[in-house]
Amino acid sequence: MKIFTEPKYIYYSSLILFICILLGLTIHTIVVLHQPEHLNNLTPQIIQGKLVWEENNCIGCHTLLGEGAYFAPELGNVYKRRGGDNGGVYFIKAWLKSMPTNIPGRRQMPQFNLTEDELNALIAFLKWTSEINTSSWPPSEKG
């Protein structure tokens, strides 16, 4: 059978095979992602927080789950790092409000003038993000 020996056909069939595997895994991944309770637990506030995150170009300096710029700290786990349910909210809020610190020799974060609503939404989003199952990444709480 020519079909099994021609390199061209081996190439095409392996290509189709890999695409099928990718599509299969995609379906599985999306189904799995809908199962854990917290991933579905998207409140309007968290969705608004994601928008605040995006519209202020936070990944221009920070990483979120390791993706973004490497100029400023990782924020995927910032909620837990800054005290979690015991104070994480207050810390992040105070931090955002006190920017820029204008300490010489230190990288500066701009003042974004977020409203109280936007601040709460952003923190809700960061809290939700810190609960994503990242296979225990980052290796250290420092990010």
């Binding site: 895994l25 789950l65 390791g66 100029f71 990242t134």
Partner: protein, 452 residues
């Protein structure tokens, strides 16, 4: 040069080199902020926004120039819509200029508000920062460009090279649709974002790169049969490894854990296409018949695969395996890999194509002085980029060691400050790179234009 519509390549190349220069300048301003915080002329996030957007856009310009040059020649006919092709160039360039000044002059949040991002949020994701309306514009331009090229090839001769270029641009256009999908669930949004970024950079763009490289080698050796044979091998390996190689982006962002296995296994083989590219160009070294008078072109064509193998292949491989990536993900190591990989694959292939096509477009083929400048620029840029990546890798290793493996409880910013010397060295390498770019630009002005 055989067809008059190939001339459209020239404005594309000029725009590409100009945007490249601006991109490097913004890179330097970011490097300054890593070491000398007191003089920020422009905030870091804006500079980075422009730095990485321009990178993608100028390489796209370079590719479009190269494709406008290659397709008529390979299809043995003029472009199907030559007038529209040049109009498209001006539309694309104005779009880029408007976006550039919008980024530069407006706060990002204001830009998002003006363009109505809250009604259809697509902004604020790495590489996908463009306002939705600009994304639509880019998509329309890609569609029009693909349509013109497809019509040209359909009505002309079909070769492996031009069919592969078509696959590359059509594929890029199709996956760009994912730019418009941004799930409100961060994990799902990240999942599909990589379908665009990964399949461009490690899929369709790699195909375009291989086709351009094959075209150049064919032009040097004149042996189409060997070139096509190698092209088949390289494309087959690229596609079969990169499709599931996407798994290496899914390790730590909330996906099921089997992606660690899939990503690791397929990433090992993602080095192969670059390995084959190296073998492929060494056919040319051994070719005794081919004496190209353009020494600069030969240098670019031979070094591109070697550097790509180092930067994209080896440096990528070193931190792509899941157990290693667990420590290196999201550190300066990623940045180092990004810089060297982009330079050695896409920057170098576009400059290779310019080195081939520009003398023909400008009638400077016999020029020796310009080539000497170009060769000097090649060495300065390549070596300084290599040094930049090296210093960044060292900074990354230090960052991983202090921040992620020891109990030293220093905040992020203190750890970064302790690596100041490396950031200085990186910035100096960047400044030297900028000198390379200037010499590269000079090489066009000193070239002797032969009057016909």
């Amino acid at each position: 040069m055989l067809y008059s519509s190939q001339r459209i390549a020239k404005p594309y190349f000029i725009a590409a080199i100009t945007l490249f220069t601006i991109q490097v300048l913004f890179g330097l301003s970011m490097g300054m902020q890593y070491v000398e915080i007191s003089i920020p002329l422009i905030s870091f996030d804006t500079a980075r926004l422009i730095h990485i957007s321009l990178l993608i856009i100028w390489i796209l310009f370079g590719f479009m120039g190269a494709i406008h040059y290659i397709i008529p020649e390979e299809s043995e006919r003029e472009l199907y819509y030559p007038k529209q092709a040049i109009q498209l160039f001006w539309i694309f360039l104005s779009l880029v200029i408007v976006t550039f000044f919008a980024y530069l002059l407006l706060p990002y949040a204001t830009l998002a508000k003006i363009t109505g991002n809250q009604f259809f949020p697509t902004m604020g994701r790495e590489y996908l920062e463009q306002p939705t309306i600009i994304k639509l514009g880019i998509f329309a331009i890609l569609c029009a460009f693909t349509y013109n090229m497809t019509m040209t090839v359909l009505h002309g001769r079909k070769t492996v090279i031009n069919l592969l270029l078509l696959t590359g641009i059509a594929g890029s256009t199709i996956v760009f649709i994912f730019a418009f999908y941004n799930s409100s669930n961060l994990v799902i949004a990240k999942y599909y974002k990589w379908w665009l970024i990964h399949f461009w950079l490690e899929g369709t763009w790699e195909l375009i790169m291989e086709a351009i490289l094959a075209y150049i080698i064919f032009k040097i050796t004149g042996d189409r049969e060997i070139v096509e044979k190698w092209l088949y091998v390289m494309v087959a390996v690229t596609l079969t490894t990169s499709i599931l190689g996407i798994g290496h982006h899914y390790y730590w962002i909330g996906m099921p854990e089997y992606w660690q296995w899939i990503g690791t296994i397929f990433s090992i083989f993602e080095m192969l296409p670059f390995f084959f590219m190296v073998l492929f160009v060494f056919n040319v070294v051994n070719c005794t018949k081919c004496r190209s008078s353009n020494r600069a072109l030969k240098l670019w064509a031979l070094s591109t695969p070697i550097m790509a193998f180092l930067g994209a292949g080896v440096l990528g491989f070193l931190h792509t395996l899941a157990p290693v990536n667990y420590y290196s993900h999201g550190t300066q190591i990623t940045s180092a890999h990004g810089h060297l990989a982009f330079y050695s694959t896409y920057v170098m292939i576009v400059l290779t194509m310019i080195s081939y096509a520009m003398p023909l477009l400008r009638n400077t083929v016999t020029d020796k002085i310009g080539q000497r400048f170009e060769i000097l620029a090649f060495w300065i840029m390549t070596i300084s980029m290599f040094c930049m990546a090296l210093f960044t890798v060292i900074a990354g290793i230090m960052q991983v060691y202090i921040q992620r493996t020891t109990d030293i409880n220093l905040p992020f910013i203190e750890i970064q400050n302790s690596m100041n010397i490396l950031y200085w060295l990186r910035e100096i390498s960047g400044i030297i790179f900028m000198f390379g770019v200037i010499i590269y630009i000079i090489s066009f002005f000193v070239a002797e234009i032969k009057k016909t």
